[in-house]
């Protein structure tokens, strides 16, 4: 297996008295989709926000390409090439696709915008992802469907030569056909050599696109397994009970001995 592009070692995170993440170890490999699953409140979104630099980590080590890095804010994460597609899409309805894709990182000199350059780059990115569902890159986001919006949000993350893309429930609010589009896109990201992390509650989606599954249980990493080694039922057990057979967190009695 290839070297992981992003490694987390012993991450802890508390919000006041609530200990949300306990000694999390987590690897993201380039060219693979790693699904991050877990029940509500297991700490999936918190973990993603820690990686993205939105929440500071209390302790632990982050290795990027084998070197230790410190992420203090969203900018640091973006500089490393870590992009996040959030659950509630971070798009502005009143701007068009190009404007949204470059939001906050507009190209141009002296505060002026280089629209032509941005439009060409946006089109190139959408082309490379084989996006065929938008009529024009100058369409306002307000008039796009949910799947198209998600596509734009993902394309926005890819635009920056990013190396790791974290997707927080990208298919949660989508219909069947739109989910299809987005899952295809997720697969294509991995084929382009990016490390992809997919948070999802939908086991069908996970088994369809993920190479590896990381399961969080009450803030602990219960198991990191290859998708082909486990069954549907085992993953569900890992999510709900934290263990399944010899996978997952050891029984409390064996752990204390």
């Amino acid at each position: 297996m290839s070297e992981p592009i992003l490694e987390l070692r012993g991450i802890n995170k508390s919000f006041g008295p609530v200990h949300v993440l306990h000694d999390i170890d987590f690897d993201v490999h380039p060219g693979q989709v790693t699904a991050l699953v877990g029940d509500n409140g297991a700490g999936k979104s918190t973990l993603v926000k820690c990686i993205a630099g939105i929440h500071p980590m209390d302790s632990g080590q982050v290795l990027f390409n084998g070197e230790e890095v410190h992420i203090h804010g969203p900018r640091d994460a973006a500089h490393l090439g870590i992009e996040v597609v959030y659950q509630d899409l971070a798009l502005c309805d009143n701007l068009d696709i190009v404007q949204n894709m470059f939001l906050g990182r507009e190209r141009g000199k002296l505060g002026l915008l280089d629209e032509a350059d941005m439009e060409q780059a946006a089109r190139k990115t959408l082309t490379s992802l084989s996006v065929r569902t938008v009529k024009s890159v100058r369409t306002q986001v307000a008039s796009l469907s949910g799947g198209q919006r998600q596509t734009v949000a993902i394309a926005k993350a890819v635009l920056w030569n990013s190396k790791v893309v974290l997707l927080d429930e990208p298919t949660a609010a989508l219909g069947v056909a739109q989910t299809r589009q987005v899952l295809d896109l997720v697969r294509r990201l991995a084929e382009q050599g990016l490390g992809v992390v997919l948070i999802s509650h939908n086991m069908n989606d996970v088994f369809e696109v993920a190479d590896r599954i990381a399961c969080l249980y009450l803030g602990r990493m219960a198991a990191e397994v290859n998708t082909k080694d486990v069954t549907h039922g085992q993953v569900v057990e890992l999510i709900t009970a934290g263990r399944s057979g010899d996978l997952g967190i050891a029984r409390p009695e064996t752990a204390t001995i």
């Binding site: 969203p74 900018r75 973006a78 959030y86 509630d88 899409l89 971070a90 798009l91 502005c92 309805d93 009143n94 701007l95 404007q99 939001l103 906050g104 990182r105 507009e106 141009g108 505060g111 002026l112 915008l113 629209e115 032509a116 439009e119 060409q120 089109r123 190139k124 959408l126 082309t127 084989s130 996006v131 065929r132 569902t133 938008v134 009529k135 024009s136 890159v137 100058r138 307000a142 008039s143 796009l144 469907s145 949910g146």
Partner: protein, 477 residues
């Protein structure tokens, strides 16, 4: 969604971007398609300034058929001078409205600028004498505070202009028309820094902050001028701002610069987009648009260079100075909003504040900056209306100055909900309001009727905004 349009032939494909791979993305449209697209957008609730433009045409027809004197040259020129100050204040408010905020204090803030300006002029630069010790030191303290607040938020232009105002006040710079105008604008900037900081940093809703400041500034004006007092602006340059005209040659030079510049920029941009294979409107549409604007400008320039004096003793010709003033502000403001990173961020914050924050935009700074811009422009509006009247009284900027300006922006098509609007909306809406007031006046309607009609027009505009929003929301998905 697989019907490929025939318009994008493979030859048009720019190198590097294989358009044929990109599904049905179209970069150029035929005129018919563009028209259909536009109609679809109208049906989808994106009306823009269309209702206001239609209203403008209707009002022009109604008033010119009812009142003989409406469509005379003298009245048209008068109309421009009457409407200019509201239009300028409205332009500033567009920035605030774009964020979905409101600045109720812009009117009285402009009054403060006007009264400081008049006081400085009347006292020959001695503000200390004009205000009295305590008031003067408080005034300087507030200017310093504004500079510090702007510096805290890294709005350097705000700091610089606040310090300019402080300098002019503290060093007692001798009175001079240009110094007065600079003083008015920089006091406006300082006021905007304070308003903006309270809204963006302290986090008080803009409605409350500006309502409080609306009352407070009203009191400040009264303090500066004194109950029942009036400060006359006896200065030719200041008088000419709203009452003077360009020479005939100057008028045509303005036409060549403005009209020619507009045509050059629009056409140059259009053809460069076509060349690079980018999304562009059809060429005939662009040509017609440029042609109409240039022809209208030429007609207006010609008409305004004719003698419009009522008496045979004096000759009044030329484009009023307020026209280039409004045009310059319109061009700069539009450029800032559409072509700069800052403008893009203003729209982004207005569209989705959370998305803007996640994109790394300094939301608080943007929110503060729009109030700085609004107050600075309100100060320019103050210069224009004080010049028109020739004096500043304690009612300057009070009454319904502000509400007219908000009305102008909203009638022009700026959304009160944020994210939607352009600077030209303020100009179009301001023209509608000015024509209503002017035309009703010519028809000898009592003030009661004028106010009621103006109010109903504003109500109509606001409901068009709300309904089109609902329409837009229901057509998505």
């Amino acid at each position: 969604m697989t019907n490929t349009t025939s318009e994008t032939s493979p030859q048009d494909t720019p190198p590097g971007a294989a358009i044929s791979d990109f599904g049905i993305d179209t970069t150029s449209q035929s005129t018919g398609e563009a028209a259909r697209d536009y109609l679809a957008r109208l049906r989808g609730g994106e009306l823009g300034s269309l209702p206001a433009l239609l209203g403008l045409v209707v009002l022009l027809i109604v008033f010119s058929s009812l009142a003989d004197s409406f469509l005379t040259l003298g009245n048209i020129a008068n109309l421009l001078a009457q409407g200019a100050s509201v239009v300028i204040i409205a332009m500033g408010l567009v920035f605030v409205l774009l964020l979905g905020e409101i600045d109720l204090s812009a009117g009285t803030a402009s009054g403060v600028c006007a009264s400081v300006m008049a006081l400085h002029l009347v006292r020959g630069g001695n503000l200390l004498g004009g205000m009295g010790d305590t008031v003067f030191y408080l005034f300087c303290g507030l200017l310093l505070l504004a500079a510090v607040l702007a510096a805290l938020m890294r709005i350097w232009a705000g700091t610089a202009l606040s310090l300019v105002a402080l300098g002019i006040a503290a060093f007692g710079v001798p009175a001079n028309a240009w110094v007065e105008m600079l003083l008015a604008v920089s006091v406006g900037t300082a006021i905007g820094c304070i308003t903006g900081f309270l809204v963006a940093r302290v986090g008080i809703p803009s409605f409350v902050v500006t309502l409080a400041l609306f009352l407070a500034w009203g009191g400040v004006i009264l303090q500066f001028i004194g109950e029942g007092g009036t400060l006359g602006l006896r200065d030719d340059t200041l008088f000419n701002v709203a009452n003077g005209n360009l020479s005939t040659a100057g008028s045509w030079a303005l036409f060549v610069i403005a009209g020619g510049g507009y045509a050059a920029v629009v056409l140059g941009r259009h053809f460069s987009r076509l060349r690079r294979g980018l999304v562009a409107s059809p060429t005939p549409v662009v040509l017609v648009k440029v042609g109409v604007v240039v022809v209208l400008a030429a007609v207006a320039t010609y008409a305004l260079t004719l003698n419009r004096s009522q008496s045979s003793l004096v000759v009044i010709t030329g484009v009023p100075f307020v026209v280039p003033i409004v045009l310059v502000l319109l061009v700069i403001g539009t450029f800032v909003l559409e072509r700069t990173r800052y403008g893009r961020h203003v729209y982004a914050v207005g569209g989705n504040q959370e998305a803007a924050r996640r994109a790394g935009i300094n939301v608080a700074q943007i929110r503060m900056s729009v109030f700085v811009i609004a107050s600075s422009l309100a100060a320019i509006g103050a210069i224009v209306y004080s010049s028109k009247v020739g004096s500043v009284d304690p009612n300057a900027g009070g009454g319904n100055t502000l509400l007219m300006a908000v009305g102008a922006a909203v009638i022009g098509g700026t959304s009160l909900f944020g994210g939607k609007g352009r600077l030209r909306d303020a100009v179009i809406g301001g023209a509608v309001l000015a024509i209503i007031q002017n035309g009703m006046g010519l028809l000898d309607q009592p003030a009661a009727v004028v106010f009621i009609v103006t109010g109903l027009v504003l109500l109509l505009a606001a409901s068009v905004d709300a309904l089109s929003r609902r329409r837009a929301a229901s057509t998505v998905r």
